[in-house]
């Protein structure tokens, strides 16, 4: 059973195979709404907004403290590229999406669901199978959002993509006009779960063209980076997920 709802300003799609799918869908979406209520920087009454208005730390929820610790840990793991503090305000949204998807997946496993697909805004966690078939995930073509440019076969993985919303201008180097100056259009990361995939995709994307090297050097991650020249650079191990065309 599949359902899509708009929460956190993005479509969230969940597919659950098997009995009790309906009630599991309901509790999954309810969880995403609770996350949005607590972490949305656009809701003035959310806890994160209250914190940014000066709520003393003694009044923060334990969950918020833990989430912000995860943000700190991620910052340390990514050479400071993952940073939730901007102009003195905290915005953990770069971590919360993957974290929330992962929490839903953990909750579903705890409820004895084994075959499911959870996606929020293009970030995906799959588990088990889609009926008799494996789950398959397409990588969106950043130059034509109606197309996919890769088909991946996954079973229990998280897949996240960081990219630009509207493409930036190409930068011209006056000192070397012939230089192949390239920007990253999108970076897809596969990891054992979506929490890892999302936070490292976010950080590695911010590293620019070197991001794929960071993915390569971090154990447990595979990546596929698309640059503005229409080329993809990818890690060795990425290939095992690619379906033959």
């Amino acid at each position: 059973m599949q359902q899509t709802q708009i929460i956190m300003g993005m479509p969230i799609t969940i597919t659950i195979i098997g009995a009790r799918a309906r009630s599991l869908l309901n509790s999954s979406f309810a969880y995403f709404r609770r996350v949005d209520d607590r972490y949305s920087t656009y809701k003035s009454d959310s806890e994160i907004s209250q914190i940014n208005k000066g709520l003393p730390k003694s009044k923060w929820s334990n969950e918020m403290k833990r989430t912000l610790e995860l943000c700190e840990e991620t910052k340390a793991l990514t050479k400071g590229y993952f940073d939730i503090e901007h102009n003195g305000k905290l915005d953990p949204s770069g971590l919360v999406k993957g974290w929330a998807i992962n929490n839903v997946a953990t909750m579903l496993l705890g409820q004895n669901a084994h075959d499911f697909y959870v996606e929020a805004g293009g970030d995906i966690q799959v588990h088990g199978k889609n009926g008799g078939d494996p789950w398959t995930v397409g990588i969106r073509n950043p130059f034509n959002t109606q197309e996919i440019i890769k088909k991946l076969i996954v079973s229990t993985e998280g897949i996240a993509t960081s990219g630009t919303y509207i493409r930036g201008q190409h930068i011209y180097n006056p000192h070397d006009p012939e230089a192949d100056l390239t920007t990253v259009e999108s970076l897809t990361v596969i990891a054992k779960n979506i929490y890892e995939a999302d936070r490292f995709a976010t950080a590695a994307f911010a590293m620019g063209i070197r991001g794929i090297e960071f993915i390569k050097e971090t154990p447990g991650l595979e990546g596929y980076m698309i640059t503005s020249n229409g080329m993809a650079t990818y890690t060795d191990g990425f290939e095992r997920y690619v379906a033959n065309a």
């Binding site: 479509p11 293009g122 229409g230």
Partner: protein, 164 residues
């Protein structure tokens, strides 16, 4: 009825918006066409057909009017700022001759300030290929967080001001 018409208009503009992404035009001409179901508005990040888009050639189908009644008053209307989770989206819609003639982004998230040289020295553990579109059926699609819903909301608030 009015809701339906606005919904249809939003759907069409959203389709056109995907062309904006591709063509990087700041505005474009949108011709009204026969109404389509407004339920197709969600688009965005959820599973999409991987079929090659047929919209490439229709980008500049200038105002070949197929409707005679003006839905909107002429002018430029600014939509609300909408939360797209990673940033705000705000659009303005320009109505001319009762039709939407352009949609411009006043605010849009853009998190790609980085631009560096590509490393000419091939790394032994990284491989390269030219990307190629595929026609494959998939369970879902991974892509950059799409802010379609914020776009639709902002545009919808702009259009509600323009109602004739």
């Amino acid at each position: 009825m009015r809701k339906y018409v606005i919904g249809s208009a939003i759907t069409l503009v959203f389709l056109a918006y995907s062309m904006i992404l591709r063509n990087q035009h700041s505005g474009l001409v949108i011709a009204p066409a026969s109404p389509s179901k407004s339920s197709s508005v969600s688009g965005g990040s959820s599973s999409q057909s991987s079929k090659t888009s047929s919209s490439t050639t229709s980008t500049s189908s200038t105002s070949s009017s197929s409707t005679s009644t003006a839905l909107y008053k002429d002018g430029t209307y600014t939509g609300n700022v909408e939360n797209a989770f990673y940033g705000n989206v705000q659009v303005s819609a320009t109505i001319s001759g009762g039709k939407i003639t352009s949609v411009n982004f006043l605010q849009a998230p853009n998190d790609n300030p980085n631009s560096v040289y590509i490393n000419q020295q091939a790394d032994p553990y990284l491989k390269q290929e030219a990307i190629q579109s595929q026609n494959a059926h998939v369970s879902g699609v991974t892509g950059a967080t799409f802010t379609s819903q914020a776009f639709i909301q902002s545009l919808s608030s702009a259009l509600s001001q323009a109602k004739a």
